[in-house]
Amino acid sequence: MEEKQLTEKESLELIASMIARTKTRYLGSRKMLMWGYLVVITAISVWVLVASTHNLVWNWLWFAIPLIGFPTTSMMSHSQQRHRGATSYSDKVTSRLWTIFGISEIVLIIMCLGFYLLGETDCSGAILVYSILMTSGAEIAQGLIVRENCLIYGGIIGLLVGMITVCCIVGDIPLNVNWYMPLFILAWIVTMIIPGHILSNKEKQQ
């Protein structure tokens, strides 16, 4: 592009053309898929190991999710920023939304560990409920911001599973591994993996 004077009509055409060139939307499918598969693979591993050995020590495997997920997300964000070169307003809002959720999740995990180590009180159910409800809420918000229905519907199903979990915990219904784990895994597939693949296809089409 040369540095030249334009007619009024050319100016307007140039503005429209530049706006069209920046229209490519980033939908964050890679991160969604990473978290979705990470949670599902961990959940299946815990389910199989606990069911086959009847040893609850395998529940410590849940910590693989934040230990792998958060550093991987951070690396993906840096590489994505370098690769894309531009950040839109909706990118910033959704990124901050998930950052707030991520930080609050870490704080909650530390709190629960503190309760367990200092007071021998097991409140691990809080991590489960919080992660499902907050993930679903953040996903619905992202869906509304980027106008993607698959995120909204996925988030609503996640919310329903979160509500069932809350009712079970409050009503003292044991979250038995044989019925709760398949439900939990299904919820993450519907909430993160399916919308992740839909968005990934849309990003490829762009």
Binding site: M1, Q5, E8, M18, R82, G85, D91
Partner: protein
């Protein structure tokens, strides 16, 4: 009839401003790619827009590589909006 802002009424500067109006921030490589300009020309035009207070230019590092990030300022946004308004008047839109 309002006069068109001469700083914006040039092809490359208007292209840069149009892109920056549509994103929160963009780096030098992105602007170069979207405007299909040369690095030297783009750099000169960014300096002009920055001197006028229309954009902010932040030079930093991304890993081991230097990265220049540009964003439109409040003054730049207002100037662009006025420019588009003036264009509409000229074209009777």
């Amino acid at each position: 009839m309002k006069e068109l802002n001469p700083l914006l009424h040039s092809q490359l500067r208007l292209a840069i401003m149009s892109i920056l109006m549509n994103v929160e921030e963009a780096d030098f490589v992105y602007l170069k790619e979207k405007t299909e300009s040369t690095a030297g020309n783009l750099s000169v035009q960014l300096d002009k827009l920055s001197s006028a207070g229309y954009i902010s230019v932040e030079k930093g590092m991304s890993g081991k590589r230097p990265r220049t990030i540009c964003a439109v300022t409040k003054a730049g946004r207002e100037a662009f909006e006025e420019y588009v308004e003036a264009l509409r008047t000229y074209l009777n839109l």
